[in-house]
Symmetry: C2
C-alpha cells in the first residue's frame, strides 16, 4: 500500500492516494470519498511520481459516478478511460516507457437462442415487436443476452420462459456464432441451445414479443426470410440433426476453479469424451 | 434528426443537440466539437424535454475523452455511464416511466488456449513470467485474449505464434469454459483449441514467457499442479481424445449475416452435421 510507506521525494504520506498492489506490477486506486478537485489533482500527480520511483507499471483509478467532478483532472494528468459501468468509471495510466500491457476491456456481448422442439416436431417461435426483426414477419427462436455472471444454460431457459412462458430443461449447445462490430464495435457470441419443453401453454411476453406459437419445423425452415438467411437454415438443420440423428453438441460439466473458490462450467462433447475415456485412464 | 425539426415548446432548433434516431425508439447524440459546459447543460436539458414530448425512449450520449469537461453536467441531468473505451465514454438516459430496456454493456472477456501436439505426442507448453501462474512452476498451454473484432481461430494461432514462435493450422474448438467475476466483475469464456504445428523450433516471447518447450503429454498431465486442477486435466484428456480417438469438437463454417454485409462464423460439430445431412435435404 502506497499509504503505508515513509516520506519519500519530499512528499508525505498524506499527500498520496491510498493504493493496493496487483500481481502484474501495477497499483489500483479506488476512491470512495469526495475530494476537492484541486487537492485530488495534486495528490494524483504526487502519487504517480512516487509509483514511478517504485517501478510500478499500470495504474488503475476507479471513480464512482458521484466523483464525476474529479474526472477532468485525471484526464489532464494523462489518464484515459478503460471501461465504465453504470455506477463507476475505470481509468488507467501506463508508467513505463515500454508499450502498455494493460488488458483490454470486455470484448464480447454474449447471446443465446433456444431451440425448443415438442413431440410433434413443432418448434417454439416468436415475432419481435422491436429491433431489426420488427415488421419483417419473420418467425424466430427466442433469443436474448446472457447477463454478466449468468451461465449460458440458465440464460437460455430464462429467455425462453420470459418470451413464451414455456418451462424447459437444458440439453446441449448445438453450435455458436461469432460475429463482429455488432454493438458499439464489440464482437458477439451467439449460442444455439437445444432445450426440451416441460410445459406447453404459451404465455407471450407483452413488451417485446408480438406473437408466439408452436410451428412445424419444416414450415419454420421454409420461411422466405429463413431460406435467405444462413443462421435460420442452420438452426432448423441443427434442431433436426439433434432430434432425429445422433448430433453431439457440447454439454456443461461443473468444474472447480484453480485460483478461486468458485464453480465454472466446461462445455464439451461429453459423448465422445466418454467413448475415449479409456485413453485417459492411465493419466 | 432533432436538429431538423421546427421550433416547439419555446425552444429553437439552435438550442437543441443534433441527434439521430435508432430502431428502438431512442436517439443518439455524438458530440464532436467543444462546447461551453453551461451552454451544453442548457442544450441537453432542452433536448431531453423535446425528446420526451416526441415520445422518445433511450438517449445515448457519446462524449470523446477531449470533452471530459462536459461529463459533470450530463451526470447532473440524470445521465449515467453505459460503457467506455480509451477514447470516449457513452452515457445513457431513459426517458419513459417504464423500466429501462437499454441493453447491457459487453459482458464477457474471451480467451483462447492452444493445444499443439506434435507427432511424438509432445504438447507445446510455456511458463509465464507475470500473472497468477508466475512462480508456480506450472507448465501450461499458450493462452491469451481474443481481441475485439478477432476470430477465435485467428486468435488461437496468433497467441501460439507470439508466445512460442510456432506456426500452426487451426483444427477445432474442443471445448470451452464459462466462468464468472474474473475481470472487474465480467464473465469469461475460454476456448480450448486444437492446432496442428507446421513449424517446430521454439522462439519464446521475451516479455511475458519465462520458458517454452515440447513436453510429453503424460508428463504435462502428471504435474502436481495439473492433477489438482480440473481444467489442466481436461486439456490433457481432450488433446488425447482428439489425437487418438474420434473426438468431435466444433469447426468454423463461414456464413453471411442477414442485416449486414459481413461474414461471421458458425462453430458446429461438422462431422455429425454431415452425417445427418440426409434429414435436412428436404428442407
Amino acid at each position: 500500500m502506497a499509504g503505508s510507506e515513509s516520506v519519500a521525494n519530499g512528499v508525505s504520506n498524506g499527500d498520496l492516494l491510498a493504493a493496493s498492489a496487483d500481481n502484474f506490477g501495477g497499483v489500483t486506486v479506488h476512491l470512495e470519498e469526495q475530494l476537492d478537485p484541486q487537492v485530488f489533482h495534486a495528490k494524483l500527480r504526487a502519487s504517480v511520481s512516487a509509483w514511478r520511483q517504485q517501478g510500478k507499471r499500470g495504474v488503475w483509478l476507479k471513480l464512482p459516478i458521484e466523483l464525476v467532478n474529479l474526472l477532468e483532472n485525471a484526464v489532464k494528468e494523462g489518464f484515459y478511460y478503460h471501461h465504465a459501468e453504470s455506477t463507476y468509471i475505470m481509468l488507467v495510466y501506463w508508467i513505463p516507457d515500454t508499450p502498455s500491457t494493460i488488458p483490454a476491456n470486455a470484448s464480447h456481448r454474449v447471446g443465446v437462442g433456444g431451440i425448443v422442439l415438442n413431440d410433434k416436431r413443432e418448434i417454439l417461435v416468436v415475432q419481435e415487436s422491436t429491433g431489426d426483426f420488427r415488421g419483417t414477419g419473420a418467425w424466430k427462436i427466442p433469443t436474448g443476452a446472457v447477463d454478466e455472471g449468468e451461465d449460458i444454460f440458465t440464460a437460455a431457459k430464462r429467455e425462453v420462459k420470459e418470451e413464451t412462458g414455456i418451462d424447459t430443461e437444458f440439453k446441449e449447445i448445438l453450435a455458436f456464432r461469432q460475429s463482429h462490430k455488432v454493438f458499439f464495435g464489440k464482437s458477439d457470441l451467439f449460442f444455439i441451445c437445444m432445450l426440451r419443453p416441460v410445459s406447453f401453454d404459451i404465455q407471450k411476453q407483452e413488451s417485446e414479443i408480438e406473437a408466439a406459437q408452436w410451428m412445424p419445423i419444416e414450415e419454420f425452415a421454409a420461411q422466405p426470410f429463413a431460406r435467405k438467411h444462413g443462421l435460420f437454415k442452420y438452426i432448423a438443420e441443427l434442431g433436426l440433426a439433434k432430434a432425429d440423428k445422433d448430433y453431439a453438441g457440447f454439454s456443461p460439466i461443473p468444474m472447480s476453479m484453480v485460483f478461486k473458490n468458485q464453480i465454472s462450467h466446461l462445455y464439451a462433447n461429453v459423448k465422445d469424451l466418454q467413448h475415449s475415456s479409456s485413453s485417459t485412464d492411465r493419466l
